[in-house]
């Protein structure tokens, strides 16, 4: 089964990869994700918006099909406002990240891709991250939309095991 087929069959997907495979997995996943939705919300918490847009363009994907949430740029500089990106002050601002997640659905995104959820454990304990992700999953289910959470195995096996409990599909990529 391809990732886009998995996403067609499941609303909430946990995409597991490793640090060494991260770039390759992302490059393989993004075209599949693009196929699965008309408009995509992309939440980035470890690469700035500009870098994400550049890598999407390199893959030949139109970044205008995306709406972005960047929670990393504002930790190092004051971001210039752009029409297709919501800047969140930091990955520790979970309330703001949650609101930004909701606003992606309110702005007609059919699918939200979270890159990379396991990075949050640098800032929060696993229990807090699990509760936060569960809250996002609930928002996606209530809105009848799709969400794909990318996680790195090395960040926390325990977080991945806990997240397994409420996602529809786990894909090792």
């Amino acid at each position: 089964m391809t990732l886009s087929e998995d996403m067609a069959a499941s609303n909430i997907v946990l995409l597991i990869t490793t640090k060494t495979k991260y770039n390759g997995s992302l490059n393989a996943a993004l075209p599949e994700i693009r196929k699965s939705a008309k408009k995509i919300g992309y939440i980035t918490i470890n690469r700035p918006y500009g870098s994400v847009v550049a890598s999407i363009q390199k893959l030949g994907i139109d970044p205008n099909k995306f709406l972005f949430v960047d929670a990393i740029t504002a930790t190092v500089q004051s971001p210039s406002q752009v029409p297709n990106c919501i800047f969140v002050s930091s990955p520790t601002a979970l309330t703001d990240l949650g609101l930004a997640f909701s606003s992606l659905f309110e702005n007609n995104c059919d699918l939200v891709f979270f890159d990379t959820i396991s990075t949050l454990i640098v800032y929060q304990d696993i229990g807090t991250v699990t509760k936060f992700v569960h809250n996002l999953v609930t928002k996606a289910r209530v809105s009848n939309k799709k969400a794909v959470f990318m996680a790195l195995k090395e960040d926390s096996e325990n977080l991945i095991k806990d997240l397994n409990m409420f996602v529809d599909k786990i894909v090792e990529f």
Partner: protein, 122 residues
């Protein structure tokens, strides 16, 4: 003799609430605010049932349950999960693998908690 239940939850008001409900049903209770504390308490005494919050800081309910199953003294202990989460089919399979007797979703009715406990330990 009253059956003994270990309640594990990081939220003090939930601990107190469950304690009140279960003691009104004739059960004895032991309280643990963290997974680590629960495992320490299990080294001292083995209850008839553990009621385990799924999402706790530090060690999650799933992780505590794994430790319970790994320990020969507690591996057959009955466990009920309490959770705000809606488990997916994948999650239900994990519960099966952990040999969890039942799970209750928060918020719950007092009678529902008591009925489920009675079903599991009588």
């Amino acid at each position: 003799m009253a059956k003994k239940i270990l309640i594990v939850d990081d939220e003090p008001h939930i601990l107190e609430l469950e304690q009140g409900i279960l003691e009104s049903g004739g059960y004895k209770t032991i309280l643990a605010p963290t997974g680590k504390d629960a495992l320490l308490k299990l080294e001292k005494e083995i209850p008839d049932l553990v009621i385990l919050d799924m999402m706790m800081p530090g060690m999650s309910g799933r992780e505590v349950c794994e430790k319970i199953r790994e320990n020969p003294k507690t591996k057959n202990l009955k466990v009920i999960f309490v959770t705000v989460a809606r488990f997916s089919e994948v999650g239900k399979k994990v519960l099966e693998d952990l040999n969890v007797s039942d799970y209750i979703t928060k918020p719950f009715e007092n009678a529902d908690l008591l009925n489920r406990v009675k079903k599991v330990i009588g």
